[in-house]
Amino acid sequence: MIKGLKIFGFAAIAACGLSSQAFAQTPGCIVLKSIAEVEQEVVNAKGEKSTKLVPLTKAVPGTQVVWTITANNTCKQPSENVSINDPVPEHMSYVANSAVGPGADITFSVDGKIFAAAAELTVQENGVARKARADEIRHIRWAFKNSLAPGAQAFGRFRAVLN
C-alpha cells in the first residue's frame, strides 16, 4: 500500500513535469485546499443539540474524519470543466453516501480508472463481479456542471473512518 502510494506520487509528479515545464512557477487560476475536521456536538443555551465541524481532535481507529476540498478561482476569467479528484487516504474507509458537492456530479472509483455512481461500481471477487462496498471506494471525483466564476468557490466533502 505504502509502496503503491509512493509510486503514485512519483507518477503524478512525472506526468505534471512532462506537460507543464514551461509554467512550473506561474500560479494557476485555482487555489486548492484540503482540510481534515471532525464533527462535534454542541448544545446551546436552550439545550438544543447541533453539530459543527471543528479541527481534528484525537484521531484514533474508529474516528470519523470530514475531509473538505475547496477550489477558489483567483483569476479574472471563469474556470470551466472544473473537476476535483481526491483519493480516499490510506488507512481510511469511505463512509457510504457521505460525499457531497453542490453543483457537482460525484463519481467514485475502486481502482482510479473506472469512475461511476457508487451503486454501479463493481469489484471482481473469485472471478465474479459484485457491487463494491463503501470501504472499497478509493477515489472520489467531483465534476462541477457550471463554470467557476472569478472569486467563486466550489467545494467537495466526504467522510472517512480511520481503520
Binding site: 505534471c16 486548492l32 485546499k33 481534515a36 471563469p78 483519493p87 487516504p89 480511520l162
Partner: protein
C-alpha cells in the same frame, strides 16, 4: 507524450490495486498503528477560455501552483489504549496454612493500535462483590509478579505452570493483539488465620505505562485538541466488571486463594445386639458397634497422613475388625492398629497420600468394630 502518460497511469493503477488487496484486511484487524501519518492530496483539472490548464494539487492552506506535488494534508494517528486483565481458570487456587509463594495466574491482553507497556501490581484490595462464592477472610503477603514465558494465544485461555520466571514490575512492549500470562505469587498466613474453608481474594492491577519507564510512569490522556504531529493518548478500555472504571488506563482482575485441609468425619452404627431383628439393633451391653472414619482432602495432595484413634471407654475392640478402604488392616500387638497411630491413604494411593477430592476414589475410609461392655 500521450503514450508515456498512459503507461505511467497503467503502472500506478496496477500497483494501487495490488496494494489494496494485500493491506486492507490486516488494517481492519487491529486498527491503524499509532504514529502512522494519514495524508491526503486532492487535485483539480479545469479549463480557462476552452484551454485545458495544468492540474493543481492541494495543500492544507491552499495551493495554486500547477505542476507541483502540492502539500499533503496530514495528521498522525493517536494511541488508542485498549487492554484487559483477566483471571484465567475461573476457580480459586488451593493453598494450605503457612504455604509460601503460592502461584495464581492472570492474563493481560493488549488490543491497542500498537505495542504498549503495562505496569503490574498485586495486593489485597477487594472487588465490590465476593468472587467464587466465598468472602475474603484473610490477607496474603509478600506479593511478587512474574511474566510467563509460555505462549499466549488471545483466542484460547490456558493456565500455564510457573517456570521460575524472574520477578518483574511490568510487561515490556506488549504487541498489538498479543497477550501475556502473569503469575502472582504470595504467602499464606499460618493457622488459625488461614484455616480450612477460608479464602483470601487478591487483586492484580494493570496500568498502561509509558515505554521505557519500566512500568513506573502511567500513560496520561491528552486533554487538549489534537496535535497533528504528536501521538496523543486516548484510553478506550472497557469494563465495569470487578469495579473497573472504563477508559482510565487501568484494568484489574481478581483471584482467590482457598485454604483446603483435611475433613475428618466419624460415625457409629450398631450392627447387632443379639436380640433384635437385623437393622433394628440397639446399643445395649453386648451389642456390636461399627465406627466409620472418613478423611477427605479439600486441599493439595497430602503425604504423611496418619490416623490415631483410641478405643472408646466402656467398649472392647473386636479383634481383626479394622479395614482401610475395605481392605483388612492387621492388628498390632493384639490391639486396634491405629491406637498407636498408622498411615492412611486414598484407595490405590501410597501410604500417607490422600488425594484431593470428594469421590470414593479419593476419600480414605477406616472402619473398626467394638462391643459395648
Amino acid at each position: 507524450m500521450k503514450s508515456i502518460n498512459q503507461q505511467l497511469r497503467r503502472a500506478r493503477l496496477a500497483v494501487v490495486a495490488l496494494g489494496l488487496i494485500g493491506a486492507t484486511p490486516a488494517a481492519f484487524a487491529v486498527g491503524t498503528d499509532f504514529g502512522t501519518d494519514i495524508t491526503n492530496t486532492a487535485s483539480v483539472n479545469y479549463s480557462v477560455s476552452g484551454v485545458p490548464q495544468t492540474a493543481i494539487n492541494s495543500s492544507p492552506t491552499g495551493n495554486s501552483t500547477p505542476g507541483t506535488a502540492g502539500v499533503p494534508t496530514t495528521f498522525e494517528v493517536d494511541k488508542k489504549i485498549i487492554f484487559v486483565a483477566e483471571e484465567t481458570d475461573g476457580a480459586a487456587t488451593v493453598t494450605s496454612p503457612g504455604l509460601t509463594q503460592v502461584v495464581t495466574v492472570f492474563r493481560v491482553t493488549n488490543t491497542s493500535n500498537g505495542a504498549q507497556d503495562y505496569g503490574l501490581s498485586a495486593d489485597n484490595l477487594q472487588p465490590p462483590a465476593a468472587i467464587f462464592g466465598r468472602p475474603d477472610a484473610f490477607d496474603m503477603a509478600n506479593f511478587t509478579l512474574h511474566v510467563s514465558v509460555a505462549t499466549c494465544d488471545t483466542a484460547t485461555m490456558t493456565t500455564p505452570a510457573f517456570a521460575s520466571e524472574p520477578a518483574v514490575t511490568h510487561i515490556e512492549q506488549l504487541g498489538e493483539d498479543a497477550c501475556r500470562y502473569v503469575f502472582v505469587r504470595s504467602d499464606t498466613p499460618v493457622s488459625p488465620t488461614a484455616a480450612n474453608g477460608l479464602a483470601s481474594t487478591i487483586r492484580l492491577a494493570v496500568t498502561a505505562t509509558t515505554n521505557a519507564s519500566n512500568g513506573a510512569t502511567a500513560e496520561a490522556e491528552s486533554g487538549a485538541a489534537d496535535n497533528a504531529a504528536v501521538v496523543d493518548v486516548v484510553f478506550a478500555e472497557a469494563g465495569t466488571l470487578n469495579g473497573n472504571t472504563v477508559e482510565d488506563g487501568i484494568s484489574m482482575a481478581f483471584d482467590q486463594y482457598f485454604v483446603g485441609t483435611l475433613t475428618v468425619t466419624k460415625t457409629a452404627a450398631v450392627i447387632s445386639d443379639g436380640f433384635s431383628p437385623a437393622g433394628q439393633a440397639k446399643a445395649i451391653p453386648g451389642a456390636t458397634v461399627e465406627y466409620t472414619i472418613t478423611v477427605q482432602n479439600n486441599g493439595l495432595v497430602t503425604s504423611g497422613a496418619q490416623l490415631t484413634e483410641a478405643i472408646p471407654a466402656n467398649t472392647t475392640y473386636v479383634a481383626g475388625s479394622t479395614t482401610l478402604n475395605g481392605a483388612a488392616v492387621s492388628d498390632v500387638s493384639g490391639a486396634m492398629p491405629y491406637v498407636s497411630g498408622g498411615a492412611i491413604s486414598s484407595p490405590a494411593a501410597a501410604a500417607g497420600v490422600i488425594n484431593p477430592g470428594a469421590t470414593a476414589g479419593e476419600i480414605a475410609v477406616v472402619r473398626f468394630r467394638v462391643t459395648i461392655n
